[in-house]
Assembly symmetry: D2
Homo-oligomer: 402 residues x 4
């Protein structure tokens, strides 16, 4: 893309903005912008995002005026005026882009591009914040629709499961078909503006007792659902839209799906994950060495890692952080749970179950967030041995009973 | 509703907010809030809205801190921080309410309640602004879906046309059926969160030549569409959601519907309204008296009113202001166009056609907004006589040709 | 319509038949035939149906040949050949007509026309039989779809309820709305080839106890469904397609709807009709006169009529015949149940409840059809007095218990 | 399956029939029968079909009586009575089976089982005829729905394309995806009772000029549709339901799809197949030997085969017979058109294009069926050389022009 072409795009954007009064033209310019943006190469994108930063930022004179007015006569109205004053022209642009076909996808692509440049072009941060602000508003959970994904789902949507699944790669259509067999469930959140694109999806196995091995779970023959099918295992959760990074839907999805499944299959008593421990091997490498083939020693180390390794009070492990902050309980450690290269590499094959227990979620969440206490099953605490600071962990009442 | 009950609602709201971390509880509290709000009587609503104002407003300490940080080190990032600081807790509350079933309807009802109190409780204005800000974002036109409304439409939606139609009341189902006959069209915008509620709808008559009388149009027998059906008359536009007052969709709807009809029926050459002139009689009463039965004199006065009576450069008449600012042209005056009590009362029976001509909309809009020039058909300008300031009106090129 | 035009239609039909090998032409000729038939006046229809009788009847030479072959060598195959030989060319024509848009409606109209002429042109009977045979096959109950009809149903379908309802006329849209209120249900059977046309529909009231007055039922305010809503009253069943006369769906509809409602509302314990007794007054006029204002005497006479007045062992009253043959029980008589002109005229205001009790239907049906025994509640039998032949009636076990 | 179990099934069937008056029981017995039939092993099926033959055949006494009545007093009514008399009880049974869920699939499976036993149990023929008669009536083309099959189609339906495709096997999902790319189309006929099962489907390639090689067509990269996309190649037609064998939909499908595509893409001028010649190699083996590597000689032989090898006046080759009887024209021979093992084996790699030309279909069909004349392109006739009997072939007017 030549410099001239970039200028054209930028020009059109400017025009679109200047002419926002006239909706017809704005809509058609927005459509042009969507098309043009998709054709930009990396340098073009750099230039365009920089243009958004430099030319379409907030008007400091207006901001200063609003601050003065507020200082002169403080009031909620003056604060609202101040809020209006901080709104940058690029926000108006983004809102107009959304009126074009494919506008929302274009904005998601812009945000993805901004995130890609977070390190290389940190100055773009205010543009990214504006976009995040807008997307967070538009992707309010009240607008999301839960859809079951199964073998009756249109192929172009199922194809996206194959494409996006990040936790345990789907090996083509027969693997997918297994994951949608009668003893499996899959659900996604969809936004009305992106009817063919899941925002996030989860894969669930319905099992007899809590699963401990992902390889077994993925390859075992389908089993009929019966009265003893007592467990729902959330074995993979995939965020599909990089442009929505940081706008979290996972916790809400797990809870909605749990409620849905409980209603469909009242015999379910356990809702738990079978989760990776992506940071364990890296952390372990920095500790006193242990024999990783000694499963008891490995389990002890892993229990210590999950219970005690923290960052700002929260678990260091990102997956643990996610589930424990959601209010789940650290339920069970599974040596040899993932013997794939990835599993062996990141956690010496260890997997963990986090258990979601409806009535405890609030209390567990509070214990962690307010007091820094991880709620875990007694067995996990016991496995950790004596090094655990008792102030940091607790057996939940349910854990005692369970 | 007792004071105790109001306290409970307020309490729950507070809890919902305080506990926003725990999504499960927030969702169920949001659902409670939706239910409770719908049960409040007027006094309860007063109290609740006041609570939103006084207890859930922005935190001035935070705002002051952000202002100081910005003053110390001005940057776009600091402005973004400032924008965040101005966000009130009630905005968070509103976003949580949207996650409950019926949440969006509750928020629309809240805004309607705030608008109802604009004069009696002007202090509530900041709450209303927060809500307007949010609704404007969520009802971005990119999220609206155009749906044709016809005799195949579910009854509970058609019923709403009868209920909402404000311009020319629908007299029951046989009147409605006439308005949905093959030579009529109706379209509405719908939002995905309100699938059964039109946001706005328009009624269109497909005619041979431009219609001049609303009574004729409403009662004439259906005619077949043929090659000479050259005109689409937009004879009624109804906003259905008081809670979206001030968030305008009408211009966009007219343009989308025009494009849709043009595609369906390429023989259409004229897209025009048959519109009321709600402010004419009131204005005329303040001028030198004329004989309102003298149709030429009445037409002259009306032409003067529409061309020259202004407020801040824009037409004084609200309907004229709407269509002319959209870029329509003042096309024709129709004495005896509406001989109902309402028509005689508000405009001595005069109606007006505003014509939407795709290629002129931008230019017409600019002429009015930038230069204060109303674009009109030569006949209308001629009818106005010599009093018209030539700087204020212009015959569009199309008008000359037409 | 001129004789020449009739000839054209007949000609085209002949061509369509002769050319059945070439599907393209046949389809377009079938479409022409559908159009033409709808334009025929009564004389044209007479002529066309006569043409179907005289020119498109079975080939007797072929029939005779098949009979001879069968007689020479009797076998199931020879009988199948004989069956083929009896097929008339008009059956082929009817099957081809079905391939045209609107073909099935045309065939239904043809059969309605044939039924209209049953007395005046009895010679057309073989044509009517062919058509009935075909329609009976195509409208096999396995192809019917049960749809709930409510206020969410498209207006053009609801309109048909108003148009067709024959038992208790629907007085416009507000009456219809009442009949679709939350304590009412309506269901129809639809055929895939007639998606916008109910074949038959039923109206049900959900009540506390068994309803006794149709006027009360139609005008009472809606009541909430609660745990005491124990009764579903089928108060109107309407066949919509005269062309399907004699092909019965009513019994199947009642049973499907009962099962549906039982599933939706487990608290329902009674499924019963509130039915007219259309032949009572006529029958009573031929008996020894009674004082029809004496309700006990009227009830006794009515009980006698329903229990004992028979034709070929089955109840004389057509509605009684329908429900009792379906296996329902004669449950209760309701003096003053229908005080409309129609109700007073045909049954001196009497209505009757027939009760459908899942487990008894088979036995009740057999008792009537095999042994001529009407199953009734003990109260009804008691009301009939001593004239009842005990061999003709029986209290069902459920009746004793109930 | 034990003899006892077979007896149970047969018993239940008998009951179902005897009790046909009582619909509730019949429906549930029909459901049982459907389930039981699917569980029968081959011997069980043999026994059950024999039972249908021997115990549920027509009543010869009734047939004889109807014959006598007809002979005594011949009339169309008597013939209709005779037709009724020939109906066997198993037809009633089949009609009842259709009221059960899965009933139609059960009947299709029964007919498939009967066709499988055509040679081994020829005595079952009358049962098969009854079933064919019924299915032919129910699968009247007027009830079929044309659906486009593309990448938006639910996976469980697309999976059936992979499963059923018989002409050019689909090698998994990526092959399927290629066949559904933007320059390809696929369409199926569906019956309302089998919404998830195509009856028949066709695969079409949109090309620039007529395709000559199936391997090229299946593997070439997708091309954009443009103004020069002038040809639709029907390269595969697959009947999916063995139970509908002999009830032909292919010709109708080709014509419906052609009309659909012509409407979507007016630039299409050629509609043709790329077809196998399954009987060529077998036929050639019985002729004077030729060098099959000499493409001219091979083409000449193939032209002779297609033009002149006949059975009862119609082409000997089954695919030729199908298309030429539909009215298509023998357009072009393609040596090396299918170099797969199958193609080389059955036709030494030759493929043929049959061209469907709307206005000629009727005339071409008549020429073949009435006069035994195959309509072909002049080039094909020329290729055949001098051995062709001029009375058997003709260049169509279009052929001359084309």
């Amino acid at each position: 893309m030549s410099q001239r072409e970039i200028d054209i795009v930028i020009n059109q954007t400017t025009q679109a903005l200047l002419r926002l009064r006239g909706e017809t033209a704005a809509a058609s310019l927005a459509a042009q912008l969507v098309r043009r943006f998709s054709e930009l190469d990396d340098i073009g994108v750099d230039a365009y995002l920089t243009y958004l930063l430099t030319d379409l930022g907030p008007d400091t004179a207006v901001v200063d005026g609003a601050i003065k007015a507020y200082k002169d006569e403080p009031s909620q109205d003056a604060i609202a005026d101040l809020a209006d004053a901080t709104e940058s022209p690029r926000l108006k642009l983004f809102r107009t882009v959304n009126t074009a076909p494919g506008g929302i996808s274009c904005l998601l692509a812009m945000r993805a591009a901004l995130l890609d440049r977070r390190k290389t072009m940190p100055e773009l941060r205010p543009v990214e914040r504006d976009l995040q602000h807008l997307l967070r508003s538009w992707f309010n959970r009240g607008f999301l629709e839960l859809r079951q994904l199964d073998w009756q789902t249109p192929a172009h949507i199922l194809e996206k499961l194959i494409e996006y699944e990040a936790v345990h790669e789907i090996q083509g259509w027969s693997d997918l078909r297994r994951r949608l067999a009668p003893d499996r469930r899959s659900f996604g959140f969809f936004h009305p503006s992106l009817p063919d694109e899941p925002i996030i999806f989860v894969e669930v196995a319905l099992t007899h007792g809590m699963a401990s091995s992902i390889q077994t779970l993925l390859t075992t023959e389908p089993e009929p659902i019966d009265a003893d099918t007592d467990t729902a295992i959330f074995y993979s959760i995939t965020n599909c839209q990089r442009g929505l990074s940081g706008i979290s839907f996972g916790s809400f999805l797990i809870k909605r799906v749990s409620a849905f499944l409980q209603n469909e299959l009242p015999q379910l008593v356990t809702f738990a994950t079978l989760s990776p421990i992506p940071g364990f091997a890296r952390w372990l490498a920095e500790q006193d060495p242990i024999d990783v083939d000694d499963q008891a020693a490995l389990t002890a180390a892993c229990a210590n890692y999950l219970l005690c390794a923290r960052r700002k009070q929260l678990p260091l492990d990102p997956v643990a952080r996610f589930h424990l902050r959601n209010g789940a309980r650290l339920e069970r450690l599974n040596p040899q749970g993932d013997v794939s290269d990835k599993g062996l590499g990141e956690s010496h094959g260890m997997l963990v179950n986090y258990r979601y227990s409806g009535q405890d979620l609030e209390a567990n969440h509070d214990a962690l967030v307010l007091d820094g206490v991880v709620i875990a099953h007694a067995n996990v605490i016991a496995a950790a041995g004596n090094d655990v600071d008792p102030a940091c962990v607790s057996v939940s009442p349910a854990g005692v009973a369970g």
